[in-house]
């Protein structure tokens, strides 16, 4: 009988060499970040034009953030080899390989909709809008696993303020690049492409909402959403749109891709909530990658400061 062997972990993706390199890179990155922090250098020579920008490029002058957790960080090799990035593949072990040649330069982001300053911004201009911060956030996937990642970026509100939204703009919608030539996962209609995510304006303006272009002190690896993504730490991972090409301001609540695919399972809000189960599995616990025992999932993923955004709302109904 000819049945394809399950593609759990192709040996090619766990070559000792790759692990070695990743580990070295991680140590080097951590050392570099540490050195920078100690020296307190205010270097702002971030991604000079003409310089190749890849995952190994260090980001200088990182500022610490009071929002950072002190919990142990997930190893770099896990965060870069275990990715839900359906644009490349629905297999979490595949984006690392498939995104290797993904082109993140040149890259522009269209700012449009209900804003005074409709514009097309170059990625390198966006990155220079504000001082880069390191934000060590918990990240909880809707599937029940979680990681702790030192992201690099600044509050999304910095960009929104510069776009100058009109009063009628009540929501922000993020669109991921649609390019099936580069993103083989988009050749299969498992979701409606391009991927769309959205936030209510007050959620997007919350200082925790991060516009992100790096992690572990370096430029964001392709498989983690390069060159520009958002990170919304109190929501399930799929709300944090990756490889963004458009930020659209609108008066109508956006229809996000996962809600479109299964409206009874994925809502617009998708706040991390241990009391509201996914219809098919419990959300009460999570497995932190690298840990053996599951740990209880915290309301808003432990980011209680966002609770006031939802006062008076039935979070069971608005899941």
């Amino acid at each position: 009988m000819l049945i394809k062997k399950p593609s759990d972990v192709p040996p090619s993706e766990i070559t000792p060499k790759g692990v070695y390199l990743n580990r070295r890179r991680f140590i080097a990155g951590a050392a570099a970040a540490g050195a920078v922090a100690v020296a307190g250098v205010g270097l702002r020579e971030l991604s000079r034009p003409g310089l190749t920008v890849s995952a190994n490029t260090k980001i200088d002058g990182l500022q610490k953030s009071p929002f950072s957790t002190t919990e142990p960080q997930t190893p770099y090799k896990d965060v870069t080899n275990y990715n839900n990035f359906y644009e490349f593949s629905t297999d979490k072990y595949e984006p690392a390989g498939l995104a290797k040649d993904f082109k993140t330069r040149p890259w522009t982001v269209t700012i449009d909709g209900d804003v005074k300053k409709k514009q097309v911004l170059d990625i390198d201009a966006i990155i220079k809008m504000a001082a880069p911060e390191e934000r060590i956030y918990r990240h909880r996937c809707v599937e029940g696993w979680s990681i702790v990642v030192p992201w690099v970026g600044f509050s999304l509100s910095e960009l929104i303020k510069r776009a100058d939204p009109l009063p009628k703009a009540k929501f922000v919608e993020f669109t991921t690049l649609y390019d099936p030539k580069q993103m083989p996962g988009q050749r299969v209609p498992v979701l409606q492409w391009p991927y769309v995510e959205g936030l209510r304006m007050d959620e997007a303006m919350h200082p925790l909402a991060l516009l992100c272009f790096g992690m572990y002190g370096e430029v964001l690896p392709n498989q983690d959403g390069a060159p520009l993504r958002v990170v919304i730490p109190w929501k399930y991972g799929f709300k944090s749109a990756k490889s963004i090409v458009r930020i659209h301001f609108t008066g109508r609540q956006p229809m996000n891709s996962w809600q479109l695919s299964a409206p009874n399972e994925y809502g617009f809000y998708s706040n991390v909530n241990p009391n509201v189960d996914h219809p098919r599995w419990s959300q009460a616990k999570e497995r932190r990658l690298g840990e053996f025992f599951k740990r209880p999932t915290l309301m808003f993923n432990g980011y209680d400061q966002v609770a006031s955004l939802y006062t008076g709302m039935d979070l069971k109904k608005n899941f």
Binding site: I3, V9, P11, K77, V79, W145, V190, A262, W281
Partner: protein, 211 residues
């Protein structure tokens, strides 16, 4: 002699996936989420081996390799073995013997209900797979072992219901299962027609009962 050798080959081959898992587990090769990999891998192989046992009858008839019946029990038991590993992974590594939570899971989560059903149905089949039980149960043995169809269907539904959006892999299993079931239906229909046409020769033969 030849059958004995073939059985050893199949036995060893069927244990390779487990050996591979174990080797990777001890060499840090299971990636970021080892428990997920173990769960998926043992589940996949349970399903593959169930479908393999279901393929034996059509295969031996279509290829006239009648000796194949001699390896079916072993493949069935190997399916049960992987099913046990899969179930153990769930109870031990995933739920850590939290029986209360597991009972809730089985009652509340349709995909777990299906998987649990498939597993429970395999137990009597494994228990009655011995020569003694085959003799004792007589014709009822065959009837009991028709449960493998139910278990196979439940296992495939279990897989379909657990995936998030990409149904391609579970549907491949569903397709194989569908073909194997269709074969039975066609054979059954042909036999029924033959019986109608020639009631005198419609006696069940060994051939028929093995469908």
């Amino acid at each position: 002699m030849k059958l004995r050798f073939t059985k050893i080959v199949i036995f060893v081959a069927a244990l390779i996936p487990l050996a591979r898992l174990a080797w990777k587990a001890f060499h840090g090769g299971l990636g970021a989420n080892p428990i997920e990999v173990i769960t998926h891998s043992t589940g996949d192989w349970t399903l593959i081996l169930i479908l393999t046992t279901l393929a034996i009858t059509p295969l031996r008839k279509l290829t006239k390799q009648y000796w194949l019946i001699g390896v079916r029990r072993m493949i069935g038991l190997l399916a049960f073995f992987y099913g046990c590993l899969h179930f153990t992974t769930y109870t031990w590594l995933d739920k850590f013997f939290d029986w209360h939570e597991m009972i809730k899971d089985i009652a509340k989560r349709p995909f777990i209900t299906m998987g649990f059903t498939a597993f429970v149905l395999l137990i009597p089949l494994a228990l009655t797979s011995t020569r003694g039980w085959i003799r004792r149960l007589g014709r009822n043995w065959q009837r009991l072992h028709w449960l493998i169809y139910v278990a196979g269907i439940a296992a495939v539904i279990h897989y379909i219901w657990l995936v998030k959006a990409d149904l391609r892999k579970p549907l491949q299993y569903a397709l194989v299962l569908g073909v194997l079931l269709l074969y039975r239906i066609v054979v059954w229909a042909l036999e029924a027609r033959k019986k109608l046409a020639h009631p005198a020769v419609g006696r069940p033969t060994a051939e028929v009962t093995e469908v």
